[in-house]
Amino acid sequence: MSKLFVEQFKEEIYRCIRCGYCRDFSRYRDSAYRVCPLRENDATPGFEPYSARGRLMLIRFVLEGKLQLNEKLADLFYTCPTCRNCWDKCYVAQTRLKGKNMINQVEIYEAFRHDLFKAGLISPRHKQILEWTVKEHNPYLEKHEDRIKWVPAGVEPPPTKSDVMYFVGCTSSYRQKNIAAATLSLLRKAGINVGVLYPDEWCCGSPMLRIGHRELAKELAEHNIAALEKAGAKMVVFSCAGCYRAFKVDYPALGIEPPFELKHAIDLALELLDQGKLSIKKDFKAKVTLHDPCHTGRHLVHIKAELYDQPREVIKRIPGIEFVEMERIRRNSWCCGAGGGLRSYNADISLALAKNRVKEAERTGADVLTSICPFCYRNLSDAIKLSGSNMKMYDLVEILDMVTE
């Protein structure tokens, strides 16, 4: 067998002491109840390889030549939303050595997924997504020419060049168009002549990295950076947690440092509120709870760029909102199940996770569930429908757009 990509993490893999805290460890001191969402309420069969200890053991067996790459192994590795809670609760991972965390579970899984991809062990659905992205630059099997159709009728299309560019992302372009429209509206209210890359915005590459096609991800990243540079961007704004994480963390890991200021829309909106460029004029009468996306949370804490305070501060400023927190928030936020390629790989499991999160939201008594990611929005709103919940789902940008003038 040729050398596996994951071998670069060998030292980290052997640091796992198999203590099993990556599964159901609970900390009363900060309301961290359980760790791996795949094990809660039988969302999966819950065998060892569904969580980090088992996964790292299996990679170790592969590296030692005692286990060959195989389809069932691939299934176990793709059945993971890569929410990074196992990394967050692993005290080996949280111990730093030479300026680095001792184990980086998700980076290891994704390196191993690259090996599985190279071995042809990806699902037909993921294969289709990769092929379509090469052809039409999005994973939703949509036409590239339709990418701009999120702009509502009667709204002036944004320019294609500006010093502030909005990177819309595939989910908001093709599925949660409401979020893209609200983001554009909000930024315009603040007097920002925000631009959008059209026809040059391609998928950010996050799904490709999650599936394991690093080369395609890099190609997409290089394209997007070049296009944004050409558009004159000084700041790039995101309403998608996944795209934001891709630019903040994944691009540098691929050797590409974005030469712009990167801002999540909610972070920027808070600054605009502080500067008086946005004014809240209306109430939003509802009991609201907030879901922290993994991509703007645990995936950014190691670079100290997590967005936990900003959405709460925005919510606090909106009159009429009675804000209630769920039990598991911030670094302990319970994954909605959409990420890591899980939604496209196994929608049933992905939605089972989302239903667990919706149940937790319902326990607060809130009637509105909000978040700052279109992909979380999509999975949670689907789970709301499937579970017959009466909750309403809004992106926080949408709520802010409703109450500002």
Binding site: C19, G20, D24, R29, F47
Partner: protein
């Protein structure tokens, strides 16, 4: 014709549903090791039952197929899986619900697949805690595992071990029959009393390494959550005086937790910023809890006087205030450079400890060259379990180095044999420690155990080979 494994999978699927049965090699390999450096033991099938009834049926199937059962809780053991190969691994962690918090009898009944941190989390919501609240591995280690290993750990200085808080059990016997022990044996009574209603059958299953049956539910004492606490840290130059201080504090049962750190750990924690530890040989750390500030202040003053009387120098309590507000997060399970670890917890009378401890260094002297060459380190910390010190003598090594791992296995075994011969009482035993402990049993005692095992488990189905039975 269907293979035996296929027939077994089918039989188990009929009990728990096919979703919770797997004979996939990937799954079986992931269950092939515990947290020790012992080589893998690969089973034939893994099953995750969700109820006592399912466990009982699984045990009956195992008897029918004459195939062994390996009971697995949190998989955090440091002792190796039972000897042999094949069989059914029962992963108990799907059975992780609290059955009842009975405020009238001040008990909690929970399924045994719940881990200690989950149990404590749920109890705290209601304002309760178990007096002993789990081994240091309780973030994964289950209630069932804790009882099977007679665990000590958090709360042990004041409240003893899991045995001391256990009121009764529900057990699936190796034949598949289900019994309740303690007052639970009386169908008309609450589960509130361990003794009475006949002999103490609960005790039979405490520390049994799972060989006498599958524990499915346990009833434990609870107490109101102690909402006041304080900490104390003292450094000592002399181990004898240090142990005398601990002994006297223990005569009064003052702290809920006590940890004794020895030079290497002091250096490690001192380097990490815990004040007053960097250059001291021994340090003692107290965790005192209660229900009012006056109460804990008074207890602290008593402890303070004893510690200082024996030469203790008080330093800022950085270590205990960090460590005991983070139960189950005991940091040195990984070495400072990311090494793997192994240890063997056991009990030795507090005042015997200084002499007992010298034995390790005599053993390790034989290996000093290889330890240097293979970068194997030895660190020591102890907790206090009522009248005993419970040393955690840690060997660290880089697990990528297979030769180092093999040397560690050898050194670890050598230490265990010498510990037993020097009067140590190990409690988590498993394969590696269990077989050495069993070799020490007198013939009459071993025959007695074997008679019980054969009576309960005529086909030798459950955890075969542990304690050489």
């Amino acid at each position: 014709m269907m293979s035996t494994t296929s027939a077994l999978v089918e039989a188990l699927s009929n009990i728990v549903g096919s979703r919770f049965v797997s004979d996939d090699i990937n799954v079986r390999l992931a269950y092939s090791r515990d947290a020790s450096p012992e080589p893998p033991r690969i089973c034939d099938v893994v099953v995750r039952p969700g109820s006592t009834e399912e466990v009982a049926e699984i045990v009956k199937v195992a008897n029918r197929f004459k195939t062994p059962i390996i009971i697995r809780g949190g998989g955090a053991n440091l002792v190796g899986l039972p000897p042999g190969s094949g069989g059914i691994t029962i992963d108990m962690t799907r059975m992780c619900n609290i059955v009842e918090i009975d405020e009238t009898s001040m008990t909690v009944t929970a399924q045994t697949g719940i881990n200690w941190s989950m149990l404590t989390y749920e109890l705290k919501k209601k304002g309760y805690r178990t007096p002993f609240y789990g081994p240091f591995s309780g973030g994964a280690a289950t209630l069932g595992g804790g009882i099977s290993n007679a665990s000590a750990g958090l709360g042990s200085a004041k409240y003893g071990t899991v045995a001391d808080i256990l009121v009764g059990l529900e057990v699936v016997l190796p034949t598949g029959d289900v019994i309740r022990t303690g007052s639970g044996a009386n169908p008309f009574a609450r589960k509130f009393a361990r003794w009475g209603f006949g002999p103490d059958m609960t005790g039979l299953f405490v520390g049994d390494q799972g060989i006498f049956g599958v524990k499915t539910e346990a009833t434990l004492k609870i107490m109101p959550w102690p909402d006041c606490w304080t900490f104390g840290s003292y450094t000592f130059q002399d181990l004898e005086k240090c142990c005398r201080a601990i002994y006297e504090v223990q005569l009064k049962h003052i702290p809920v937790n006590i940890i004794l750190l020895e030079p290497d750990f002091n250096r490690l924690f001192g380097k990490a910023g815990f004040r007053g530890l960097a250059d001291v040989p021994f340090s003692v750390h107290l965790h005192i809890e209660g229900y009012s500030k006056d109460e804990v202040d008074k207890l602290k003053a008593e402890a303070d006087e004893i510690m200082k009387k024996h030469g203790g120098n008080e330093v800022p309590p950085d270590f205990p205030s960090w460590n005991f507000t983070r139960p189950w997060e005991w940091p040195p399970r990984t070495g400072p450079l990311g090494q793997a670890w192994i240890t063997a917890c056991y009990k030795v009378p507090i005042l015997d400890y200084p002499a007992h401890r010298d034995m390790w260094y005599r053993v390790l002297d034989k290996y000093k060259d290889v330890m240097k060459e293979k970068k194997i380190d030895f660190y020591v910390a102890s907790l206090v379990v009522e009248n005993a010190l419970d040393p955690m003598n840690v060997l660290y090594w880089f697990d990528e180095d297979e030769e180092a791992r093999e040397w560690v296995r050898k050194i670890w075994r050598d230490l265990i044999i010498n510990e037993i011969r020097n009067g140590a009482i190990h409690y988590w035993l498993g394969k590696v420690i269990g077989e050495r402990v069993a070799q020490t049993y007198t013939g009459t005692y071993f025959d007695f155990l074997r008679t019980i095992k054969r009576a309960l488990d005529p086909n030798g189905i459950i955890n075969p080979g542990l304690l050489l039975l």
